[in-house]
C-alpha cells in the first residue's frame, strides 16, 4: 500500500516502470514474495478465516450448536449494547481518549524524532533512543503497576505535583474529567513514543542533506529548517501513519485501562472494550454481545479511516488509497 501524490498538473505516468506479467514479476521478485508469505498466511488465518464469526453478533450463540445452528436474534445484541446503562459514558470516554491519543499521543513520536535527529551529540542521541524504546518491551502489566505506584497517594509523581500545590491523592482514583484521560494518554506516550519514533527517524535520515544545506545558506535557523524542510519531507509518512491510526484507534483504546480503572472511575475511564468485556463476560459468557460490540467498533473504524483518508487527500494532497 503506497502513498498517492495527487497534485493537479503533475503527471506521474512517466515515472511508472514497465508493467511485468505476474510470472515475470514472480520470477524477478520471488524472494520478496517468499518473505511476504508468512504475513499472507497470518492475515488469512487470523483476519479472514474468522470473518464468518461476525454472524455471532446476530445470534444467541451456543457452543454446542455452533455458528450455523445457533438461534438467529437479529439486532438484539446491538440493542442491548446501545441501551446498556454504561454505553453513553463508555462511548464518550472512548472518543475522548482516542482524540487525545491521535493528537498528543500521535505527535509525541514525531516531536521526539525531530528532537533526536537535530541533536548534535551522537552518543547521547543513541542512548536516548535506546532508553526510549525500552518501555515498549516491558509488559503492559508492569508498566501499569509502575504507573499505579507513581500516581498513588505517596507516589513519586503525586509528591512532585504536590510541590506545585496539587492535592496528595491517588490520581488514578480521581473521577474528575480529564484526569484519567490524560493519565491514560501519557502512559501511552511513555510506552510507545520511542518505538513509534523509529519510522520517523528513518524517514528524516532519508531527506537529502543538500536541502538542509541550501536552507542554511539561505539563512534558515534550526526551527525554520525543521518547519520548511524536515516536516514537508516526512509529511506523506505522517499522513499515512495518522490515517492508519485513525482506523484502529477505537480498538486500541482499552488495553491498559483494564489494569488502571476501578468502579470509582468507571464514569471517566470505562471505554467500549472494557464495558463490553464486563457486560459480556461478567456473568455467563455472552459471545453475541461481545461480537456485536467488536463489529460496531470495526465499522466505526472503517468509516473513520475512509473519512480521514479523504480529508487528508483534500487538505494535504496525500492519501493512503
Amino acid at each position: 500500500m503506497g502513498i498517492k501524490r495527487n497534485k493537479p498538473g503533475i503527471s506521474t505516468k512517466a515515472l511508472k516502470p514497465d508493467k511485468l506479467s505476474w510470472k515475470e514479476d514472480f520470477r524477478k521478485n520471488g524472494i520478496l514474495y517468499l518473505l511476504f508469505l508468512p504475513v499472507l498466511v497470518w492475515e488469512i488465518l487470523f483476519h479472514y478465516l474468522p470473518l464468518p464469526g461476525i454472524l455471532m453478533a446476530f445470534q444467541d450463540f451456543s457452543i454446542s450448536k455452533g455458528l450455523f445452528g445457533s438461534k438467529w436474534v437479529g439486532f438484539e445484541h446491538f440493542v442491548e449494547l446501545f441501551t446498556g446503562s454504561g454505553f453513553p459514558l463508555a462511548f464518550r470516554n472512548t472518543v475522548a481518549m482516542a482524540i487525545l491519543s491521535l493528537t498528543i499521543g500521535f505527535s509525541a513520536s514525531i516531536i521526539f524524532a525531530l528532537i533526536l535527529t537535530t541533536f548534535p551529540h551522537k552518543r547521547f542521541r543513541r542512548l536516548a533512543q535506546s532508553a526510549s524504546y525500552l518501555p515498549n518491551f516491558v509488559s503492559a502489566v508492569v508498566m501499569c503497576s509502575l504507573a499505579t505506584e507513581f500516581l498513588s497517594e505517596k507516589g513519586a509523581i503525586t509528591m512532585f505535583l504536590s510541590l506545585f500545590g496539587a492535592d496528595k491523592q491517588n490520581w488514578l482514583a480521581n473521577p474528575d474529567i480529564p484526569v484519567f484521560w490524560l493519565i491514560y494518554t501519557f502512559i501511552g506516550i511513555w510506552q510507545g513514543m520511542g518505538w513509534g519514533s523509529i519510522v520517523y527517524v528513518a524517514s528524516i535520515s532519508n531527506i537529502s542533506g543538500e536541502l538542509h544545506e541550501a536552507a542554511a545558506i539561505d539563512g534558515a535557523n534550526r526551527f525554520q529548517r525543521i518547519w520548511h524542510v524536515t516536516l514537508p519531507g516526512i509529511l506523506p509518512l505522517i499522513v499515512m501513519m495518522w490515517t492508519m491510526n485513525v482506523g484502529i484507534v477505537l480498538k486500541l483504546v482499552g488495553g491498559n485501562i483494564l489494569l488502571l480503572y476501578m468502579p470509582q472511575t468507571y464514569d471517566v475511564a470505562d471505554v467500549l472494550s472494557t464495558y463490553t468485556y464486563r457486560m459480556s463476560f461478567g456473568g455467563s459468557a455472552n459471545y453475541g454481545l461481545s461480537t456485536a460490540s467488536g463489529l460496531f467498533q470495526s465499522v466505526l473504524g472503517l468509516i473513520l479511516l475512509v473519512t480521514s483518508n479523504k480529508l487528508s487527500k483534500r487538505a494535504a494532497g496525500y492519501s493512503l488509497f
Binding site: 457452543i63 468502579p263 468507571y266 463476560f281 461478567g282 455467563s284 459468557a285 455472552n286
Partner: protein
C-alpha cells in the same frame, strides 16, 4: 553431511510444531488405556507453588492413584489450575474454545449447570449417580437438608447435573470481623464507671495468657451492637492519635460499599442484594429502608473520619482481606479478616503491632440508625459455611467408562475410609507411601491422630490447620468429597476458638440456597445475567459515592425516592420474581 543437517532441521521443526500443539491445547483428552483411566480436572484454585508445583503432587491424590482401583481401573488425574484472579474468565475461555476438561469445578463458573446441559456440554447424571454411588445416596438420605442442592430443574424435571461435595457438619468459619482488643483495653475506659481497664499477659511466655476486664456499652465483654462499634471507633481514634498513626483508620468496608453476601448490612434487617425475608419470600435488599439505614450509618462513619477514605479503591482485595497490608502494619482498628489475623498473629514486634491482641466479634446489630423495623434485628444473611460444598460437572469429553469410574471414585470419597483420606494421610499411610511432601513438612506421624475424648472418637490434626500447608496436605481441591468436620479437633488456640464461635454465633438462614439457584431455568438464568450485568454496574458506580456523601443524598427523602426509581429502571424486580418462582418450584 547436508542430508543429516536437513533431517536434523526437519526433526527440530517437527518437535517445535508438536510443542506448539501441546502448548495450545488446554485440557488434553487422553482417556487412558488398559488398566488406567485418565481424568483431566479443572479447578479454580491450586496450592501455593512453594509447597508443590502441580496438584498431581498432592499426597492424597498420589496415594489414591497408587493404592485404589475404581470400576476395576486405576485413576490418573491431570489437573489444570486457573490463573489466580482470572478464574471465571478462564472457565469461560475454556468453554468458548471447546478446550474444557473432563471434570469442571463449578464454584467460579460463569454458566449454570442447566445452561451447560442445554449446550450439550455435560452429562446428565440422574440415573448414573444412584446406580454407582450408594454411599453418596445414603448420605443424602441421612441428610435431607442437603438433598435439594444436588438437583437442577430442566423443563420442570429434576435432574442431577452436578456432583456436589458436602461436610458432615457445619465447618467453622475461617473469616469474620476482627478488632484490636489491646487498643480497647489500653486506651478505653469502662463505659459505666469510667475506670481504666486492667489488662496484660499473665505469663510472658504464654501468648494465650492475655486477660482483661474490658466491658462494652452493652454490658458484656463483647461488642454486639452498632453502638458498641461506634464506642470502639472513638477508642481506636484515640489509640491512633497517641501512637502517631496518621494513615490509619477504624474500618474499611468492601469496595462495593456493601457485600453481596449480606455481611454487616444484615444487622440492619436487610440482605444484599437478593435474600429471603422473614416471610420466606425473596426480596431485593437494595430497595429496602434497611439499606438506607445501613448507608446512613456508613455515611456517618465516613463523615466522622472512621472509615477508610480510600475504601472504594481496594478493588483487587477479597472481602475478607481488605487492605490486609495495613492490618498487618497495625494501623486498623476493625476489619473483616481471616483467622490468621486473630490472637497475637499480627504482632511483628514493631512500633504499631507490638503487643497486639486481636479478638473476633459477631455481626453487629443495628440499634441506632433507621426506625424500629431496621433496629434490633438478629443477623441472618452472611457469608457462612453450610453443609454444601462446591460442585463439579462431568463433560461430554468423558466416555461412559470414564464417567462411571469417576463416580465410583467420588462414591469412595463418601465412605468412611474415603472421608478419612480426604483429611490427609494417616501415620500408616504415610509410612507405606513415604510421601516426599509429608517428609519435607515433618509430618512423619501423619496428618492426624484419632483420640478418644468423652467416649467419642476425635480426629485431632497434628498440624496448624490455619497454615496454608494444611490444605496442601489434605485433599482440599477435589470434589465431590465428604469433608469431616464433626468430632474434629483443629488445634485452634483460645483466640481462634473465641473468633470462630463469634463468627458462627448467628446462622445464615436467609441466603438463597443452591437448590434455588439450580431451579432457575436456562432462559431465566440468562435474564438474570443480563439484568444484573447492568444493575450491579449501577450499584457499584453509585453506592460508594452515597457513602462518601455525593450522588444521591441518603438523608433526603426525595433523593432516596429518585434512587429507588433509578433502581427500578434496571428491572431488578424481574430477578426477584425469577428467584421467587424458583423458590416456589423447590417447595412443590
Amino acid at each position: 553431511m547436508r542430508r543429516e543437517s536437513r533431517v536434523f532441521r526437519k526433526l527440530i521443526t517437527s518437535v517445535a510444531a508438536a510443542g506448539c500443539m501441546v502448548s495450545l491445547a488446554a485440557c488434553g483428552n487422553d482417556s487412558g488405556s488398559g488398566d488406567t483411566v485418565n481424568i483431566t480436572y479443572w479447578s479454580p484454585r491450586g496450592e501455593d507453588s512453594s509447597l508443590y508445583e502441580q496438584y498431581e503432587d498432592n499426597p492424597v491424590v498420589k496415594y489414591i492413584e497408587e493404592n485404589y482401583t475404581f470400576n476395576d481401573k486405576k485413576l490418573h488425574f491431570e489437573f489444570y489450575i486457573a490463573p489466580p484472579g482470572s478464574e471465571a474468565d478462564n472457565f469461560s475461555n475454556l468453554l468458548g474454545t471447546g478446550d474444557y476438561c473432563d471434570v469442571m469445578d463449578m464454584s467460579m463458573a460463569s454458566s449454570t449447570a442447566p445452561e451447560l446441559y442445554e449446550d450439550d456440554i455435560i452429562w446428565d447424571l440422574t440415573e448414573l449417580v444412584p446406580a454407582n454411588m450408594p454411599n453418596y445416596m445414603a448420605f443424602l438420605e441421612a441428610n435431607p437438608d442437603c438433598e435439594s442442592s444436588i438437583y437442577s430443574i430442566v423443563d420442570g424435571e429434576k435432574k442431577i447435573l452436578m456432583l456436589r461435595g458436602f461436610s458432615d457438619g457445619i465447618q467453622p468459619m475461617f473469616q469474620g470481623f476482627c478488632y484490636r482488643r489491646d487498643w480497647i483495653a489500653k486506651y478505653g475506659a469502662n463505659p459505666q464507671t469510667g475506670a481504666a481497664f486492667t489488662y496484660g499477659f499473665t505469663d510472658e511466655n504464654d501468648f494465650e495468657s492475655w486477660e482483661d476486664d474490658v466491658v462494652f456499652p452493652n454490658g458484656t465483654d463483647e461488642p454486639l451492637y452498632i453502638s458498641d462499634w461506634e464506642w470502639m471507633f472513638e477508642i481506636f481514634e484515640k489509640a491512633m492519635e497517641e501512637q502517631g498513626i496518621s494513615d490509619g483508620y477504624c474500618y474499611s468496608p468492601y469496595y462495593y460499599g456493601y457485600m453481596q453476601t449480606g455481611d454487616l448490612f444484615t444487622g440492619f434487617g436487610g440482605g444484599a442484594p437478593y435474600w429471603y425475608n422473614d416471610n420466606g419470600t425473596c426480596v431485593n435488599g437494595i430497595e429496602t429502608d434497611s439499606f438506607r439505614a445501613y448507608l446512613q450509618c456508613l455515611n456517618t462513619w465516613y463523615q466522622k473520619g472512621w472509615l477508610d477514605k480510600s475504601f472504594s479503591e481496594h478493588t483487587s482485595d477479597v472481602f475478607f482481606a481488605v487492605d490486609a497490608p495495613k492490618v498487618f502494619q497495625g494501623k486498623v482498628g476493625l476489619w473483616q479478616g481471616r483467622i490468621s489475623t486473630v490472637g497475637t498473629q499480627i504482632d511483628a514486634d514493631d512500633a504499631y503491632t507490638d503487643g497486639a491482641v486481636v479478638y473476633g466479634c459477631r455481626q453487629p446489630i443495628n440499634d441506632i440508625y433507621g426506625g424500629p423495623e431496621q433496629q434490633n434485628k438478629e443477623p441472618d444473611h452472611m457469608y457462612q459455611f453450610g453443609k454444601d460444598g462446591n460442585g463439579v460437572v462431568l463433560t461430554k469429553k468423558m466416555s461412559e467408562e470414564q464417567v462411571v469410574t469417576f463416580l465410583k471414585f467420588a462414591d469412595f470419597m463418601f465412605s468412611e475410609e474415603g472421608t478419612l483420606l480426604q483429611s490427609g494421610l494417616s501415620k500408616e499411610q504415610y509410612e507405606a507411601s513415604q510421601d516426599e511432601f509429608y517428609t519435607r513438612l515433618g509430618l512423619t506421624e501423619g496428618m492426624y491422630t484419632i483420640v478418644e475424648e468423652d467416649g467419642r472418637e476425635i480426629l485431632k490434626y497434628n498440624v496448624d490447620t490455619s497454615d496454608t500447608a494444611f490444605n496442601a496436605a489434605i485433599l482440599a481441591r477435589v470434589q465431590p468429597v465428604l469433608q469431616k468436620v464433626e468430632n474434629v479437633d483443629r488445634g485452634y488456640d483460645r483466640y481462634m476458638k473465641q473468633a470462630t464461635e463469634s463468627w458462627d454465633y448467628y446462622e445464615n438462614t436467609a441466603s438463597l440456597s443452591y437448590g434455588v439457584m439450580n431451579a432457575v431455568n436456562v432462559e431465566d438464568a440468562q435474564t438474570i445475567t443480563k439484568v444484573r450485568a447492568n444493575y450491579d454496574q449501577f450499584l457499584i458506580r453509585t453506592v460508594p459515592f452515597m457513602i462518601k456523601g455525593s450522588g444521591y443524598d441518603i438523608w433526603d427523602d426525595a433523593s432516596w425516592e429518585q434512587f429507588l426509581g433509578d433502581v427500578n429502571k434496571y428491572q431488578a424486580g424481574t430477578v426477584t420474581e425469577i428467584y421467587q418462582k424458583a423458590i416456589d418450584l423447590m417447595e412443590k
